[in-house]
Structures are given as C-alpha cells and as structure tokens.
Symmetry: C2
Subunit: 225 residues, 2 copies
C-alpha cells in the first residue's frame, strides 16, 4: 500500500478491468449482498473484493446504504427512461406496455446479480432510500396508467370475464415475480417475454400475439433499448 | 434472576400471555426479523423482547436459524395441510384451486408479521432450511398440478387466446406477490380473494364468478380451514 493512494481510488489490481471503479464496486457489492446478505456484508469486504482500500471505496460511496441505493435506483430508473423513449414513439397502448414490460423484465432477469431480491429489506424503508422508493412508485403508477389505457381500448367484457382493477397493479406485481423465479433457479429462456405476454393476457387483451411481440421488439429497437 | 430458572423457560412477565412460550418467541422473532432484519437480530434481543433469558430461549430453539425455519415452514405446511383436507372433498379443479389459493393468501395476508418477505434471504439457501425449501417446492408443484387440471377442463383455446404453460407456475408466483403488496402497504380489503380470482382468470377460466367464490368458501368451511 503506498501513501500516494491514501483516500483516493486505486485503479490497478482490479479483477473486472473493463469497468470503471464505481461500477466495479457496485458489481462486487451486488454479488456480496445477494449471496451473503446485506447486513452481513461490510464495506471493508466489498473493498477487499475489488482489491481497493476501504478509504478509496468511500471516495465513491460515503456509506454502504449509498451503494445499495445506487443498485436499487438503477432497477427503476432504467425502465422509467425506457418509458420516456417509448412515449416519443406514440405507440398503441398494448405495444407500449409489452415493450416496457420486456425491457424491465430483461434487466431484472439478465443483470449479473439478482438485485431485485434486495428491495424488500427492512433497511430500504428508511429515509436514505426515499429516492428509490419514489422511483419505484413512479414505475408502479406508469404500469397502472398503461394498464388502464389497454383496458379502455378493449371491447366491453362479457359476464363471464374477469376484469382486473388497474389499481391492483397486477402488471407491476408480475414483473416483481422475476426475482423470486431467479432465486429459485427456475424460469424459461424467454422468461422476460413470457411475463410481458402474461401482462397483456391478464388485462384481457386478445389478438395476434406474434404481431404484438414483433411490434414490441421493433419499438424497443426504435427506442434504443 | 433465580437459580431455579437457569436453562429452563420462564413462564412469567411475558407480554403476550395467551400464547405458549414457543409461540411467543416465534411472534417476537417474526416482528424483529421483518422490522429490523434477520442478520441484525440476535437471539438475545428476541429473548429480551419476550422477557425471557437467552438460555431459556435455547431450551425451545437451539439456534436463530431454527426459529426462522419454523416461521417459514409454517407458511408452506399450512396450505399443504389445507390441500389435503380439500382433496378429501373431491372438488371441481377450479373450486379446489380457488379455495387453496384463498387459504394460502389469507395466511400470507393476515399473519401478524409479513414473514413471506424472509423467504428470499440468502441464509435460506443453506442446508438448515432444506425442510422449508422442500415444502415450498411441494406447494409449488401442487399449484402446478391443479393448474394443469383446470386447463385440461377448459374448452379448446382460440387463436387469439394466450394459454399459460403450467410449468411457468404462474399461480404460485401470484401468491408470492402478497408479501410485496403488504410490504408496500397497498392492497384491497378482499386481497386474498382477488389473488384467487386472478389465478383462475390467468389460466383462462371463465364462468359464474359469484358461484365459484361461494363454492370455494363452502369448500374451505367443509375442510375446516
């Protein structure tokens, strides 16, 4: 350890060298939090895992909570940004909802570590995670609004049809089942697409599924997602 | 502290006197685990919260993991027992599934503490929780089998219908959304019934919903649940 590096980030000896130092910290923390638990992981252990001094880690993240907050914020900010990009395309509501749900589920499903399981930790109810919680609420209400638009465009239901209340947030809740599926080591290859199909199905949408999937994929390409 | 009580449970000074000592320990632990976190809660703190010496707590539960295992086992053993009682009634598959789902969701929704959020903890992947995990798998496969029976009894789907794969365990996953809903402080009065309705809806069942709900409630009374 040399004196010049004290309190400053080290940029050598890291195992994941294609990442920036904060990205490396986030990825190492995601692994430790999901594999060993949040409370059981110290900032010292995170620093060791990236080959960095603890003081250097604090240069990027003042606290362990700040690392978790960044990991969790990312899980809601990315789909919210995707929603904005999709909005500019002026899509039919079922295509917009399917595309948003696919993008959201793909990140929950393919991120290096299953960070989604961390959002129910009691720590996350504290003030330090207010930004994450408000982003998560915004995402939930985005799904609710899109669901209401899909429902409004459907033919009138028959007596034997069940019509979910948009306020039950069923599509948002379906996306939240992915961390559980991942944690169980289950799920199909096309799992994110399956959840998106299920989202439209549960709202009572019926039609040409291949066409819907193709339109959704096209929208995501156009949105740069 | 008197010598006679050493290593033996104390039966006085407890705040929840209608419960047995192990029940009190379980309830206090459920509160602390869900409100402050599992890793952050010591057996000492649990013992203090029920007004018991730590040595007395160990008389009932050898480890903290044993307390969590008992709490989690209960969440799967109760619906599995309910399933056995329903099986004796020889019900139509949609009634059986609706009733099981209602009983399962009611316990997840109305238990004093939201214990369902604890099943994704990394600790739960260890050998000590093997019994819970195998019970949870049994419950998941019970939902899968009942879902397959409901699907088999439906009229042939039309091209525009989406038919969920029973292997996707969508009904089991819907029940797992309740801990998230509870954690968010959201959900309707009839939330367990809503999830049961949604379970049948998602499988594509259509019919007289009031009759289904009445049959399900009757079956649960007959099953003593």
């Amino acid at each position: 350890m040399n004196a010049a590096s004290r309190g400053r980030p080290r940029h050598t000896d890291r195992s994941r060298t294609d990442l920036t130092a904060p990205e490396e910290i986030l990825q190492a923390a995601a692994e430790l939090f999901t594999q060993h638990g949040y409370a059981a992981t110290s900032t010292r252990r995170i620093a060791e895992s990236v080959g960095m001094r603890q003081a250097s880690l604090y240069y990027y993240f003042p606290t362990k909570d700040a690392i978790l907050a960044e990991l969790l914020n990312d899980t809601v900010q990315r789909p919210l940004e995707c929603h904005e990009a999709l909005r500019a395309l002026d899509l039919a509501p079922e295509v917009h909802l399917h595309a948003l749900c696919s993008a959201d589920c793909t990140q929950l499903w393919t991120s290096p570590w299953n960070v989604g399981v961390l959002c129910l930790l009691p720590e996350v109810r504290t003030e330090r995670f207010a930004e994450f919680r408000s982003g998560r609420t915004a995402l939930r209400l985005t799904y609710r609004e899109l669901s209401a638009r899909v429902l409004a465009a459907l033919p009138a239901p028959r007596a034997e049809d069940y019509v979910p209340d948009p306020a039950a947030d069923v599509v948002f809740r379906l996306t939240e089942t992915l961390p559980n599926l991942r944690s169980d080591g289950l799920g199909a290859d096309r799992q994110p697409g399956r959840i998106s199909d299920l989202a439209l199905h549960v709202l009572g949408w019926r039609g040409d599924w291949d066409r819907l999937r193709a339109g959704s994929a096209r929208a995501l390409r156009a949105a740069g997602a």
